[in-house]
Symmetry: C2
Subunit: 454 residues, 2 copies
């Protein structure tokens, strides 16, 4: 583990140096610079570069490093680069990759290339790949590695110590060796630290942690991440139906899952794909953003058609039209606050049957209290501005209605979407804003029509 | 490391059982259930419970477990519970906590209680605490533990192996032992795995990784997290100015930093504090959300005052008023997409001097392309709906202007805020929406005034 301090400023500086060297055509210099860098740093620099720089850098990278670098890249960029590679180069890169990343990459290849890649692999690699491909995406199996070191229970520690010395280097992030019976069923685990501190004459069985239970291979990766986070694990064994050991999951892959899930919520709420490439090409990015904008156009037209129903009121009172955006806007913000809280709670697995009713009640209460507070404030503001006490009261009343609905909707919408198996992080914001816009306009324009037109 | 499979369904089931047992007053039963659970699971259940249930559960928890449970709780809930504890109980809990968590808790205590807690501690604990308190929040020092195991370079491995056996249990998440000189300056590291696989007759110096560099104690925790993520570390040494070893950072604390940063972006963009407690009390939650709503009210009034400037146009053409929300709405969504992308890029450290200009150009181009696309679509929609080609052209023109500005603003606002040392995740969304609302209204109402009133 070569540790190297590399802070943002430093990365930025290197990026500058690389960009300058590229700009002045000093390709040999760039190639040497890249040669001296760790794969993870090169991946970071590729992620942070505009498309043209990426292309040039990618040409200058050592073929040997390709696999390790691909391992570290975000999905969108990874897919793009692989599409440009020859099957032979993919196969060569594959040999140096972890099983889980390999499976991911192969899944994204077109069938013909997939077969070519598989054919250019060694038979050992092919077995690894076929195994990895058999687990669905987003499960424990898909982030699992098969490089476990296993022990038998009735062996003395000094025998194991001798065996390890002959065996040599252990797989990365190995903190625990797994104890299995002759059918490969998981019996327990022995931490490396315990091997070092225990009496060498005791048996593995005596020092192993027999309470070690495995992660079922079909568990969702999100639940795996929650278990790792809650129990501060560094690695954990993965088991099949029969309790047989299939592999292990290590914290570095779990960190990726945690990061992806958190980004998914944040990007999703803004209507973006969490794989979106910050420095991706313009046209592709434009198209990626269309879906959300299309839905929003319909939502905005729907809101306009609500206003349209009150054309008469608007025609008579221009002030109503001028003020009518305030109520939906406040409802949208209040509803979004609740939505963010509930989406985070769902992502963390905090919200279930036992507490969702309480949560909805709480958010409804907050919405109502907020409604009272802001209806008073907006009443005062509008009264002072327009010198019209009735208008102030109207907007205040609409505010109370909309803020209360916003609290209720912000809590219920993600829970309902989840029940309907629709991702709340993706659809929640748009549904919520549509609701608060329409209720807000109905409440304000409706009240105005009732009280001002008579 | 007792591993135990506990998926969401199971947690929910336990929560149900606990809630039912509490409801029927079976407190002894609840106490026994809690006694058998891991601290991290109890913490999770406390986080997922409404206030009243929390209070009762907290009373029933073993005093011995208090420290470990506090360690695992979110900040808001942790603060609340500590405020209710006697200084003696805090001191007792403190003895079982990691240095970094201890420092966090003590920082949040009132001065008088702080002194009482310090006095009821053993002198050894007091030294640990004073040391931990000397590092500012959000730095490597604040997430560092001081429980390192150190070696001297000129010792043979078999001597170390004997020493470790006498020493007994290693601190949690120890994967590397650090090699220091007599002034405690970091010389390198030896992985446990290497101790197990190397020739016992070689010296530590021969097998140590001399390239191991320490993390400066003042580095921001965000940068530390980026280093861990990029290099797949499990632990890393922390050093002072003189390269002397001060402690180590472990991946579990880094995972918390990653989670907090990601949540900060997501919650911040929705106008929420990332410490916000999902099941916190109503009144407190209501007040927490006020700041954002206050700012939004001003922004909404500002937008209304823009409409107010075009009162004449609105008076004459009610349809203008009905349609005037569409342009700001589309601009807001498009701008928010860019904003989310840039805020994530900033959080990941991807955006620097070398590429920010390219990024702004790219988002401006996307905004312009989106503008063309949506101005055509909205032109067709309005033409069909209102059978008015001039109106469709007006709204299309305004859309083009606002979407282009939205792309530019979505990229520039977070970069500018960062330069002004204002958190882009917190302020970005509100500033952006204000800009897209105002520009959108100005563009549409302005164009309408020019072309329709003549």
């Amino acid at each position: 583990m070569p540790i190297e301090v590399l802070d943002n400023a430093l990365t930025d500086q290197r990026l500058n140096q690389l960009t300058q060297a590229l700009g002045s055509g000093m390709f040999v210099h760039v190639r040497n610079m890249l040669h001296d860098m760790a794969a993870s740093d090169i991946a970071f620099i590729l992620e942070s570069s505009p498309p043209r720089t990426r292309q040039v850098l990618w040409q200058l990278i050592d073929q040997d490093q390709t696999g390790e670098i691909l391992d570290e890249l975000g999905e969108e960029l990874k897919d793009n680069l692989i599409k440009q590679m020859s099957p032979e180069r993919v196969a060569k890169a594959a040999a140096r990759m972890d099983t889980d990343d390999l499976a991911y990459i192969l899944r994204s290849l077109p069938d013909s290339v997939f077969k070519q890649v598989l054919n250019s692999m060694s038979s050992q690699d092919r077995v690894r790949v076929e195994q990895a491909l058999s687990y669905p995406d987003d499960t424990a199996g898909s982030i699992m590695n098969t490089d476990t070191v296993t022990l038998r229970p009735d062996v003395n520690i000094d025998v194991i110590l001798r065996y390890l010395r002959i065996r040599g280097k252990l797989p990365e992030a190995t903190d625990t060796l797994y104890v299995v019976d002759k059918h490969d069923r998981l019996l327990g685990g022995v931490e490396l630290a315990d091997l070092l501190t225990c009496d060498p004459n005791s048996s593995i069985r005596a020092i192993m942690d027999a309470k070690l239970e495995g992660i079922p291979v079909g568990m969702s990766d999100n639940e795996v991440a929650q278990l790792f986070e809650r129990h501060d694990w560094i690695s954990a064994p993965v088991i099949g139906d029969d309790n047989q050991l299939l592999g292990r999951i290590t914290i570095d892959d779990v960190v990726d899952v945690i990061r992806e899930n958190a980004e998914h919520s944040m990007m999703g709420m803004a209507g973006m794909d969490d794989d979106a490439d910050t420095f991706g090409p313009v046209l592709k990015s434009t198209l990626q953003r269309s879906l959300w904008l299309t839905i929003n156009l319909f939502a905005a037209l729907l809101a306009a058609s609500v206003s349209n129903m009150f054309e008469g009121t608007i025609e008579q009172f221009a002030t109503i039209a001028i003020l009518m955006t305030i109520v939906p806007s406040m409802g949208g913000v209040a509803g979004n606050q609740t939505l963010a809280l509930v989406i985070r709670g769902l992502a963390l697995g905090q919200i279930g049957k036992s507490n969702s009713r309480w949560l909805i009640g709480k958010e409804l209460a907050i919405g109502f209290l907020n409604g009272i507070l802001w209806s008073v404030l907006v009443f005062i503001a509008i009264w002072l501005w327009k010198d019209d006490i009735a208008l102030g009261a109207l907007i205040g009343g609409a505010m109370l209605i909309n803020m209360t609905v916003a609290g209720l909707a912000g809590a219920c919408i993600p829970l309902l979407l989840k029940k309907m198996k629709i991702d709340p992080a993706l659809a929640g914001g748009m549904v919520l804003t549509t609701v608060t816009d329409i209720i807000g306009l109905f409440a304000f324009l409706g009240l105005a029509t009732i009280f001002l037109l008579n």
